[in-house]
Amino acid sequence: MALREGYFLSKEGKTRTIEEINKKIRKGDAQVLTAEEMKKLVESSGVEVAFKEVDVVTTGTFGAMCSSGALVNLGHSDPPIKIDQAWLNGVKVCHPGAAVDLFIGATNMTEKQPYEYGGGHVIQDLVAGKEVELRAMAYGTDCYPRTSIKTTITKDDLNQFYLLNFRNCYQRYNCAVNSSDEIIYTYMNKLLPRLRNATFSGAGELNPLMNDPDYETMGLGTRIFLGGGQGYIIGEGTQHSPKNLNGTLMVKGDAKKMSPEFLQGASFSKYGTSMYVGLGVPIPILNEGLAKKTAIRDSEIFTDIVDYSVPRRDRPKFGQVSYKELKSGSITINGKKVRVSSLSSLKMAKKVAKTLKSWIEEGTFTLTSPIERLPNNTVFKPMRQTEEIPFVVSVMHPAVTCTENEAIRAIAERIVTKSVNHIVVVDEDGKLRGIVTSWDITRAMAEGKKALADIESRNVITAKPDEPLEIASKRMAQHNISALPVIDIERKVLGIITSEDVSKLLGR
C-alpha cells in the first residue's frame, strides 16, 4: 500500500503513475532514456527538467551470477521413470521434485572437464537450441518402473524451461586483491600475488538497484529484461542486505525466449563454473526523487577493497574505492598503483539497457507495478556454527630463532637443548630471513659446510595467525614440510606451528 500512496500524495502533484506511462508506451510516445543518458540529462538540465521529460530510465548489468539456474520439465518417458540421479551433457543436475522435473544449477560441473563446462554452459546450449544429452537413473517403483534412460533433448522438447535465479544483480560488490605470495584463484577470478592486480564486479551507476536504492518501484511482479527475454522479479534475492547497499534480486523468466548472447556459461579456473546473466530493470520516473536517484554517478558509489588471500568470512580490507576509480583501470592501495579490471561486462550492461529501451519505445514491453516491494530492512546473518574450528593462532608457539651470523655449531646446540627440529632465521628486527632444520645441520656436518648461509632455506613457506589450521596443514602436506613459521603482514615472526601440533589437534 505504501507504494501506491507514495505515487499520489506528493504535495506539488508532481507525480506520474505506471498506468499513465503504459498509456504513453502503447501510443509510442513514452520518453525512455538509458541510465547513462539520464545522468547526462540531469547534469546538463537539472532534476526538474529531467523529471518532466523522462518517463522511464532503463538500467542494466551483465555479470557472473552463480546463484542462477533453470527449472526444466522433461515430460514422461514410456515406461515412465521417477528420476533419482540425472546428468545433462555430463553435468549432474538436481531432482528436487517429482518424477521428471530437474533443476540445472549454474555452478554444477562435469566430472570430465571440471571448471570448464558446467550448468551455466548447459543452460546456454539449451537456450541456443542445441541438443543436450540426458542420462538418468532411478530405483524403480510400481508406478515408475524404469531404472535408466539415455536420450537427447532440445529446448523445444521441454514442457517448461524457466530461468530461476535466486540471487542476481548485486547492487554493488567487493573489489578483490591478494596480499599473499602466491597466485590465488577465486570467484573474483585470478588474483596475482602481492597486490599485483585487482578485480571488481558490477555495473556501478548502471546497476538496476543502485538507480532505485530505496526500491520504490521494484518488487514481486516487476517485469524486467532477463537473459535477452522478458522476466520478472519474484522477490528479494538470497543474502539481500539492503541496509549496506548490498541488495539482490530473485528472478524468473521463460528461458525458451531468451538469447545465448545474454546468458553465457563461464569458467573460473580452480574455482568452478558459473553463468553470466544480462539483467535490466526499467525504472518508472514517478516523481522527482526518482529522477534524482537515477542520476547517481560512479563517483558516488563506493565499495571495499578486500584481501581474498585470507580465507575467512570477514576478510581484511584495504579501505574503500569508488566505481569511478575502478572503471578507470587503476586504483591506489597503500600509495601503490594497482591495475584493476572488471569481471562483469560494461559493454554488455550498456547493451542490456539499450535493448530494454528499444523494447519500451517499440511498445513490446510495458511496465508493471510490484505487488510487494523489496524489503529494505532485512539483515544478512552469518551461519550459526555449533562447533568451533581451530585457527593457526590457537596452536602456534614461540619459535626458536637464530640470526644469520651465528655459527652452525651454536645452532646445533640450540636444536638439542630446546629439543626442536626447526630454527627460524631472523634479522635484527625479528623479520623472517630463512629456516634451518636438524636435517640441514646434519647435512652440513656430513658435507663439511660451516656457514649458515650455505644451508638455510630462504624460500620459506609460512602461515598467518588468523588462518584456519586446516589450510595451514594442507600447505605443509602440499610442500612436504613439517613446520611453518607464523608471520604478520610485515613478515615479523610471531611463532611457529609444526605438523605434530596439527596432528594433535586435528587427529591426523
Partner: protein
C-alpha cells in the same frame, strides 16, 4: 621493434649463443622472457626493425630456430568483453576502448611464454598456441613476415 622467438635445442643450451650474436652484431636485443633448462629452451626477444634480418640470419647460421611468434589467439566470437584479462597482462597488450570493447594488441603480446590471461578468461576465448616441437634446429623454412 620486432619480436622474435628463439628456440635452442639440448646441444645448444650450454653455448652462449644469444650473447655471442648480440656482441658480434652489436644489436640491442631486449629479452622479454626466457624459459631454459638442460633439454632446451625458448627465448622471446625484441629487436629493432632494421636489425631483424641480420639477427635472424645470425641465429640460423648457428643452427638455432627463429620464428616470429603469434602464439596467443583471441576468439572474438566467444569474448563477451568482461575485461578480466586487462589488468593481468604484464605488457599492457590488452585494453578496453571507449566502447568498453576488449582490444588485444598482438604486437605487444609476449605470446605463449606468458599466457597469464589464458586461464583467467571466463569465456575461454583466449588460446595459447604452443609452437610445434622444439627440435627442428636449422629449419630455415619459416618465413619472417
Amino acid at each position: 621493434m620486432k619480436r622474435i622467438l628463439i628456440r635452442v635445442n639440448e646441444e645448444q643450451v650450454s653455448e652462449p649463443i644469444v650473447a655471442e650474436v648480440i656482441i658480434e652484431y652489436r644489436i640491442p636485443a631486449a629479452i622479454l622472457s626466457a624459459h631454459i633448462n638442460s633439454k632446451g629452451g625458448e627465448i622471446i626477444a625484441e629487436v629493432p626493425d632494421e636489425s631483424l634480418d641480420t639477427i635472424v640470419n645470425a641465429f640460423r647460421k648457428r643452427g638455432v630456430t627463429v620464428t616470429v611468434p603469434k602464439l596467443i589467439e583471441v576468439d572474438s566470437e566467444k569474448c563477451f568483453n568482461c575485461g578480466s584479462c586487462v589488468a593481468l597482462c604484464p605488457v599492457e597488450a590488452i585494453s578496453l576502448d571507449k566502447d568498453c570493447t576488449v582490444q588485444f594488441d598482438k604486437e605487444k603480446c609476449v605470446g605463449s611464454a606468458c599466457s597469464i590471461c589464458v586461464d583467467a578468461c571466463p569465456a575461454r576465448a583466449i588460446k595459447s598456441i604452443k609452437p610445434n616441437g622444439a627440435n627442428h634446429a636449422g629449419n630455415n623454412k619459416v618465413k619472417i613476415s
